[in-house]
Structure formats: C-alpha cells, structure tokens
Amino acid sequence: MALKMVKGSIDRMFDKNLQDLVRGIRNHKEDEAKYISQCIDEIKQELKQDNIAVKANAVCKLTYLQMLGYDISWAAFNIIEVMSASKFTFKRIGYLAASQCFHEGTDVIMLTTNQIRKDLSSPNQYDTGVALTGLSCFVTPDLARDLANDIMTLMSHTKPYIRKKAVLIMYKVFLKYPESLRPAFPRLKEKLEDPDPGVQSAAVNVICELARRNPKNYLSLAPLFFKLMTSSTNNWVLIKIIKLFGALTPLEPRLGKKLIEPLTNLIHSTSAMSLLYECVNTVIAVLISLSSGMPNHSASIQLCVQKLRILIEDSDQNLKYLGLLAMSKILKTHPKSVQSHKDLILQCLDDKDESIRLRALDLLYGMVSKKNLMEIVKKLMIHVDKAEGTTYRDELLTKIIDICSQSNYQYITNFEWYISILVELTRLEGTRHGHLIAAQMLDVAIRVKAIRKFAVSQMAMLLDNAHLIASNTQRNGICEVLYAAAWICGEFSEHLEEANQTLEAMLRPKVTTLPGHIQAVYVQNMVKLYASILQQKEQSGEKEAAQEITQLMIERLPQFVQSADLEVQERASCILQLIKYIQKLQIKEVPVAEEVIALFAGELNPVAPKAQKKVPVPEGLDLDAWINEPPSDSESEDEKPKTIFHDEEQRHSRHRQPEIDEEELARRREARKQEQANNPFYIKSSPSPQKRYQDTPGVEHIPVVQIDLSVPLKVPGMPMSDQYVKLEEERRHKQKLEKDKKKKKQKKEKRGKHHRHNSLHTESEEDIAPAHHVDIITEEMPENALPSDEDDKDPNDPYKALDIDLDKPLADSEKLPVQRHRNVETLKSPDSEAPLVEKKSKKPKKKEKKHKEKERGKGKEKEKKVIEEEEEKKGEDLDFWLSTAPPPASTTQLQTEPVVGAAVVAEPQEVKKEEREERDEEEEDEGKKSSKHKKKKHKKEKEEKSKDKKKSKKKSHHSEEETTESVQNGTLDDEPLPPMSSYRLLAENPYVKMTYDIQGNLQNDSQVTVSVIFENKSTSFLKSMELNVLDSLNTKMLRPEGSSVHDGIPVPFQLPPGISNEAQFVFTLQSIVMAQKLKGTLSFIVKNDEGSTHEKLDFKLHFSCASYLITTPCYSDAFAKLLESGDLHMSSIKVDGISISFQHLLAKICFHHHFSVVERVDSCASMYSRSIQGHHVCLLVKKGENSVSIDGKCNDSTLLSNLLDEMKETLSKC
C-alpha cells in the first residue's frame, strides 16, 4: 500500500506544475494556442484524479490560463473541491481560482455556502482570511444573505487580521443584500473606535463608501468622524475621512463651518501632498456649500488657490494635474480667484502631457469673459493647427465650440467672428465633429437674425468650395457642414447676393457623391433658392433669365432623380415635376414667382429639445381612464374577495394622484416663475425677445460699427477670424471713448433701469456691448409647458438600495437570518457567544416587546413615537454638536500652533467639557438600562433565535415561513413555540444520515418534490452517491429521459467529511388520496486513507397524505361559502390525553400537515388547506379539557379519512 502511494507521489512529480506550464508556454511561442490546448487536456485528466494535490496543482495552472484569457468556468466544480480541501495550501489555491472566475452566474456557487461557513469559523485565522478574501470577489445575493450573520460575528473576532477583513467584506454584503445594513450598522460603527488602526481604517473605508452614495444617512456620524479626524495620525484614514466630509458638507453647511479651521490647520501643517490635496478639495467643497456668512471666506479661498498654484507650478506632473483638477472645482463658484491665474493655465496648454492640456482646457471653459474670449479662442486655434493626434484636436474643437456657445452665447460679442471661427474649423482634416460645427452654424444663423446676411455669404462660399471639403473621403465627418451651408443658403436666400452662382454650385455633378441626407437637403434648398431667384427676376422683368434658370433646374435635377438614396430620389422627382409645371406656366407668360415663394413662406423657429415632453395634458383628458371598461372576472372575484378591495384602493389612488400633482405643479411653477423673474440671465420667451438687449443700458446709443466685408479673404471661402480680434479692439476703444462722453447723461438713466448683470462680472465686461444688434431667439416651448426640469434618476443604480435610514431603531423582522443547517451541529466560531440580538440598541427591544402586545395597532403607534423621539434626539445631538464652539480636539490643534491667545480658547473649552461630561453620564445611564433589559429579555431572545435558526436552507424556507406566519395568525398568546422540523429521518448508517421532506408542486398537480439532506457522519469522503427507488404503479420517480426504471439518479454532489448537503428528487403520482410508501436504496463510495469501499443504505420513503397538501391561506367568508356549498364529505376524529396548549396544537397541525388557520375563537379554530390536485380540506378543531376533536370536510372522503388518521397519529404523540 505504502509503496503504491510512494509511486503515485513520484509520478506526480513529473506532472507539470505552474512553473513548468509557464516555461512550456514560453518555449512554444509559435504555437502557443496549440500548446495550451494540449495543457488544458492534461489538466482535465488531472482533475479527474482523486488526489486533491493533483487537483490543486491543476486548478493553480488554470488560474494562470485564466489570466491569459482562457475561460475556466467549466472547472468550477473542481475549484470548489479544491476549496474544500482541508489543507490551507490547497484551500488557498481553490479560493484564488474561485475569486478569479466565479460570479453571480456561476451555478455551482450555491454549493459553496456550507464550505465557506465552515472556513469562516475555522480555528485557523488564515483559513478564515482566505475564505473572506475569496468571498469578497464572488459574493452573490444568496451567499450574502446566508453568510451575513457569520461575517458579522467575525467583525468582533479576537484577531484584528480577521476583524479588518470582515469589516471590509461587509460592504460587499451590503451591496448584495441591503437588508443586512441596518442590523450590522451598530457593530460597524463600533469598529470606528477599534483599538487596532487597521480595523479602524477598514471601518472608515466602508462607511465612506456607503456615505458617498447616500450621504444624508450618515450625517449623524459627523461628530464621530470629526473626532477621528482630529485625533488620527494615519494619513490614509485622514484622507478617507476628509473625502467623506467633502461629501457631507453640501448637506449641512454648519458642518462646513466647523471643518474650515481644522482643515486649514492641516493644510498648513502637513507635509504629505496627498493629504494636503484632499484637504484643499474638501475646503473647496465647504466653500461651495457655504453661500455666505463666513468672515474669513476669501482668506480660505486665497489659501486654496495659492496652494493649488504651488501644485500646478510643481515639476511633478501628477501634482500639476491634480492642481488643475481642483482648480476647476473652485472655478465654478469663485471664478474670479481663478481667473487671476490665467497665465498659468494658458501655459499648461503648451504642456507636453495630454492629460494636463485637457485639464487646462476644462479650466478655460470657465475662465472666458466677453473681454478675453477672442484672445483665448485665438490661442486655441493655434493649438488646433499644431495638434498632432486627432483625438486631442477633436477635443480642442469641441472645447472651442463649448466655450463659445456656453450659456446661450453669453460671451460672444461679435457673431461674425464666431461664424468665421466655425468656417475656419471646417479646414480640420479627419475630424469626427463635422455635425457639431454644422449644428452651431444652423443654431447661430437661425437664432441671431442680424448675422444671417453674413452667415449666408460665408455659407455660399463654403458651398462654392464644397469640392475642397468633400474631396477627400477621409474627411467625411466634415462634409456635414455642407448640410448646414445648404440649408442656411436656401432658407435665408433673400440675403444671398449671387444666388445664381450658389444655385449652380449646388447643382454640380460632384454633389451626388455626398451622403444621401446631405443631398436631400441640397435638393430641398435648391428649390428655395430657385424660388427667390425667380421672384427677383420676375420683379425686374427679366423673363428670359427666369426661363433660363428654370431650364437649368430641369437639366440638372435628373441626376438627383437617379440617386440611390430614396429620400433624394423622392424629393428630386417631386420637385422636377413641379418645375416642369412652372416651365409650362412660364411659357404661357403667367407670373408664378409669388406662388412658388409661397411654398416656403413663414419662418422656422427652433424648438427646445424638451418641448415635446412638456406639452401639458389638456384639461379634461384623463390618460389613465379606461376607454372601454375591462371585462370583469366575476368568477375569481367570488373566491378572492380581497382582490376587489385591493383594486378599489388602486382606483382611488389613481383619481387622487392628478389632483395632488396639479397642486404641486402649480406651486412649483409659481416658485419657478419667481426665480426666473429674479434671475437676470433667464431669457423669457416673451413675444419680443429683443427686450433682453434693450434692457442693457446704453446699447441703443452706440452706433453699430459696420464691418467692411470687402477685406480680401486669402482663401476663397475661408475667412480669417484673426481680423476680428483687431477690429474688435478698435471697436471697443471707440466705444469706450463714446461712452465716456455719455457717461454723465446715462448716469441718471441707469439708476432707474434694471441691471442685467450681477456683481459677478467686472465693470469693464459690462461695458462691452455686442457689435451687432443681436437678437438671440430662444427655443420655442409649447404653451403652458410644464416647468419641471428634474432629471430622472437611474432606477438601476445598485447603490440606491443602500439608501437606508440608519438612525431608525431595528425592527424584529430586520434581524439577520442566522443561517444554520438544522441537521448539522452548530459550528461555534470563537466569538459566536455574543448573540446577534444583544448587539441591538435598547430601543429595538422595546419594539420587540410591543410587537407581541395584544393590541397590535396601539403598539405600532407607540413604536412610531419611539422612532420619532429617537430621530429627534439624534437630530438634536447633531445640532448640539454643530452649534457648539470648536470641540477640545480642534483646540488642541490650535495649541500646537501657539499663535492664538490661550485664554481666549480656554473658556469655551471648559464649557464644552462640562457639557460632554453630562452627556457621558446620560449615555452611561442608558447603557445600564439597556443591560438590564438585556437580562430580562434574554430568554425570549433565545427562543427567537431558535426560530430564526429554522429559517435556514433556502429550499425549505418557503413552507416554513408560511407556517410561522399562519401560526401567528392564530396566535393570541405570548407563548413561545418549540422548534419544529419538517425533515424526518429517512435512513441512517455509520456513514451517512438521510433526512427528507416532501413538498407539493404548485405548478404541477401530479408532482411532488422530495428534498433529501445527506449528512456525512464519517471521516471519509463520500462520492458517487446514487439514489434509486422501486416505483409503484401510482408513484414514480422522475428520471432523466432515456434511462430505465431501474436506473438510479446520481446525487449531484460529493460529501467531504462532516458536510451535509441537500438534493431534490421529483416524483410523479396519479392519485393522492392514499399515503404511499416506496422502497429505495442509496449506493455510494466511501473513500478514505485505506482506500475506497462501496456501501449501500436501504430506506423507505413515506409519502403521507399531508405531503400532498399545500399551505394555502383562505379568508373566512370564502371559507364559509365553501362549507355552505355542500359538496364536501365529512368525517371527524377525537383524540384524548392532549396536554399541550391549543396554540401549540394549531402550530403543529399547520406545520406538519400544511394547514393554515382561517379563524380562531377561544379554543376553537377553523383551518384550511388545499391539495396539489385541488381538493379543498376544511377543519374545525375544538379543544376540550383533555381532548381535541377535529371535524373535517373535504371533496374526497378517502383523502379526508387518511388525513385525519395522520393527524391523529401526530396528536397522539403530543
């Protein structure tokens, strides 16, 4: 034997290990894939071996292959085998592989629950550690639910190594199983003050993650964090806390005030750049949240900006990058303080690092003003020319457009300049943003009336040079601008000077190479052009010329009629016919221009993107009302009276909803109007939008400088935007002179007029008047548009589920399920003595008590009060903390910097101390009380716990839970129930113990599911288990297709020593009125050190009639109807010598026989159940002094008598 083993082990030495595999792959560079597939075949062979070492080695190799991109999910089961190895070495390999490839979709993952639980409670801390690490990667909602309590227990493990891991993993558990957050939170909070800094850091980490998603729930922790911040020396923890404060301050401005001082101290004192940077960031967040009222407000900003400047000037690119990042945050609220560092930021635009350039670009966006826009854009245009990569250039392009178009073209004083910039941008090769430029051209031309003439002339030039733009196929993106050009030239053709030339340009054969949608626009706008030319010619009496142009159209249009693009073709043929008709009329010398032009009369106005959504529902239109009443389902209504009630409720609320909404909306609308009225930047969609500029004092008086368009352009169609910069300067200069003259005059006028700008803008800026009488048309909205602007939140946000109020006391139902297998000895972890319930605060206990009070309603009311009180208290605590002078901790900080007079600080400190002591006393009192409570309640809790225990195992969960509920239904007493299990012993031998439970299948009236728990009692490994049953005529085991009646069904798992697992088998049956017994055998292989043996275990599977029943709730009126119907058979039994309470009795019947209590009056109860084949079973249970009588009614008399017999047996055992 020993020799055989040695031989095996030596053989194994020649198996490839990980190193050999890696070496092999490196030696097979040419045919790597082939070599690896060969290796995978070998691995598959190795996995088939029984030796766990070989398996582990194979799994280890698979992990490596996974990294190379090979899917190894097929080995999931083998990985689990290796995970369950007893040796740490192998276990670690298994967990590593699992953490790399398991996920929620891995089906075998549910087999790991017990193994992981066992590892979690292992006496070896590294087993636990490895399990926790693995779990952190592949925890699923099921695992989270089943293991939440175990992990929570580990949070108070004696070893800090385990504690900190457990704390971190709780976050993953919260994400997957949000219900665990509230019960676990008190302990998590406790860990913030753990003696071990690592655990503390982990707790801070988790709470920060939680708070980041739902900050408002964590405000009450602010004092605790503040204490940590001022006491901790661990930079990592400090950074986390400071970041957390950054998330909290927007919710509580007072917190910000409190923070400023310690943060500025940290900024001054720390040498760690990372900490400094986060402090600056949080100070910025604080300053943003504080609208006003800080005396040293500007000092803090100055400090931040100053520190950031140091960062940006640093030679370390990382600091530079972060400095710019933080700067952009300040920019939003305090643009002025950043604007003074414009030089620095423009300098960053020249940086060789793209990330830094992009950051600098972001900053530019906020730094532009009317004054410097042209200058900045000019600089950017130079960068555009210089930029090598298309990505960066495209980024520049979008930034230029963003900067110029921001807040409704607020900073553009000269739109001619802007159009020129846009046209210049069309020279960019290979950009993807042609559509963006096109959209801007359209937008500006449509909304700025004054610019149309100029825009049209530029667009005409673009069309004329279309070949330059569209020539290169690579420049496809840019040809989008032709779309805009064609539309603008067509729509505003009255401004076109050389319409003929443009029309000809649009009719060039080259045009047909453009994309279809652009051609379509071409065709459509040709007609507009044609119409205006026609009108012009007719008016001036040039009939010849008019006919010529018609002829030109008829000649050229057919090239579009032949287009492959449907829309082009359709439009072209339609228009061709129209023009042929016009030609006929022209020959008859009928004036047609007026009619043709009438086709395009009227102006097209821009429509706001949200307009459609905001069309209000007309009065009297109820979108929720039925058009035709849906057919009522009268049959089912009889049986389910509750549903009717439910329906009604829904209908009520449906009517109510709109009323509330309208009120609310009206209120909001009013508030919004108010806001708009006070907002000088809001452009009202009044009929005369010109008002906006008329309001500006002085604009009317300034003579508009006409720009001389005869300035020769160097490239045809390519205007030079630079000229505008010079012109603009001149213009401004002139303007200023004139303004100075008029200043005195205007002063008086100004006073009375409403100012359009607020103090945010510098005076010089305000003075710059736009070059054109610009009239920015706002986008159209439907009348009475709903003013709501809220963006819908993403309903799929996984963090939304964690938006849980943590200050509310715990309810009974929220306790974490203590998931233990009822048939396995409870594996005690080192700390499991501390029961979960004890961890709950004092308040929940009160609640528990109340829960059991007879008058439930009253209890609930009280609970509410308690909750409110609690909340109030919490609120007060926070208020108290926030309102007091800086706490001692921060003053100690001040002391380290002996600048401030000590006497001044001392006084508030003392007061504070007193207050603190008082509070501490209070807390102590509370603590005592709660400990008393604990003792009193201890008994009950234990019972509770046992009840919880039962709720293990997912599969049986369902029936059990229902039972407990129904028991409560009938329970009026405050009596605890003894633990019950529906699992009965099936068979047992020294190796294996089988227990089973039978449940009816709701979906199938002729099937039941038998759940069998196999427990390995030996120290050997059990494998190849196979279960076989001798079918009867009535009852048959469901076997996979193709297998004969004599084949057994393999149990889908193996059992390591001491492990139990559950398998399910489905049976089909014909009649259910009689109980059945089936003989069966379990065969399995026992494998241990001595080798393996084949074993058998016979059993008898008993299908009681009760197992065909499904617990079905029934309402008393339906129950009464059922009894009245009269088609039920009746039978009754009486059992003497019953000593247990009536409540227990009912619970037993509910639990073991799957009944539910319909009604209970004193010692009399009616019960109901339903078989899988639809038999109704009604019971009337009466308890005498020492006896119980049961009257039963059922559709089938045999079933009834069998059921009653079974019940008799159960009761006689009592």
């Binding site: 290990n17 280890c60 790399q100």
Partner: protein, 208 residues
C-alpha cells in the same frame, strides 16, 4: 473602490490580472490590451493619471499607473480613492513584492503568479484597501508561507525543498506524503527496487 489591478510588461503581456467586478475573459483581455496601448503612448515624464472611464464602463473611473523597469502597474479606481494615495499604494505593493521575492524582477512575477496574488490579497481585498503598512503585509504573507511549509513539512525533515521549487512542490502531495511520513526520503533509493521506480529515482536527487 478599486475596480481593477493590472500588471503587464512593456509588450503588453499580462503578469497579474485582478478585476473586482465580473467581466468575461474576452472583455478582460480587451481591457488589458486597450489599457496597454494607452499607457504605452505615454512617456515616463508625464502624469500618471489617465481618464478612460469608458474602458471600464463608468465615467467615474480613472487609471493610475506606475512604470517600473519592464512592468506597468495599473490601478483602475473610482473617485472615492485619493489619486496620490493610490500612487503610494502601488509603491507599497511593489516594495512588498521586492521584499517577499528578494529583488523582485519580472521573472518572479511570471513564475509565481499565485504568490503575487496572495501578496496582493493582503493589500487589497474586494477592491478595498486592506493594509498599507508594508511590515504588516510582509508579516502576514510570511506567516502564511510558513503555514504552507508546515503542511509540507509533514512529509518529514528530508523533504526540504530549495525555495525556488517551493511553488512547484507546494502543490504537491498531501495524502501521499503523509503516508511516507516516517520514511527518510534519501533512503528510498536503497529500499525500493521495483523496476520503473528505480529508473526515476536519480531524478529525485535533483530536488534534494
């Protein structure tokens, strides 16, 4: 939260891949490739942060990387992590590797991917930073190697394996070895005379 930790060499060959959210293997490889191309373009004197949230499917994500000799260490993190803090963490991780492998080089990572993972697991778990103190990390890693050795040690005093073979043999026999518990391995050649085993025995001495 840390979303992913990638280590690859100057040619984009992955040396350590650790995603903290599940992604299919092809997607993982795609991300590694794209990340590699992104960082490859950047020379060593520019900043170590990269915005490429789209790569990982979230705008919040940022790549923070460091380049050491032939290896890139890339961490993908969201906004709750401090950028400079993560840079320090990478340094801590690399220094820890250096301590555990004694002058770490790419070859160590190539041949001991499992060990690198185990070290990483003492620094970051489930995307959250577990420990930043290098001494603590090294202590835990060593304690676990000791435990591993102890488990091998059952095989008897003779099976002392040169450290470079550790990884290979650590995956080796448990039950079988325990069966030879009391046999002094060097003597095996003398004791065993069965044909084919005899042939393989000379190879054994290599391991001694």
């Amino acid at each position: 939260m840390i979303n992913a930790i990638l280590v690859f060499n100057n040619h984009g060959k992955p040396r350590l891949v650790r995603f903290y959210q599940h992604l299919a293997e092809e997607v993982q490889q795609q991300i590694i490739r794209e990340t590699f191309h992104l960082v490859l373009k950047r020379d060593d004197h520019i900043c170590n942060f990269l915005e490429c949230g789209s790569l990982f499917g979230g705008s919040d994500y940022k790549l923070i990387y460091r380049h050491y000799a032939t290896l890139y260490f890339v961490f993908c993190v969201d906004s709750s992590e401090s950028e400079l803090g993560i840079l320090d963490l990478i340094q801590v991780f690399v220094e820890t590797l250096d301590k555990c492998f004694e002058n770490v080089c790419e070859l160590d990572l190539i041949f001991h991917m499992d060990k690198v993972h185990h070290i990483l697991q003492e620094v970051v778990i489930g995307g959250m930073v577990l420990e930043t103190n290098m001494n603590e990390i090294v202590a835990q890693v060593e304690a676990q190697s000791k435990l591993e050795k102890a488990e091998q040690g059952i095989a008897g005093p003779a099976v002392t394996v040169p450290s470079r073979w550790q990884g290979g043999l650590s995956a080796a026999p448990s039950r079988a070895v325990s069966a030879v518990k009391n046999i002094n391995l060097p003597e095996i050649p003398r004791n065993i005379n069965i044909g084919d085993i005899n042939i393989k025995v000379p190879n054994l001495s290599q391991f001694m």
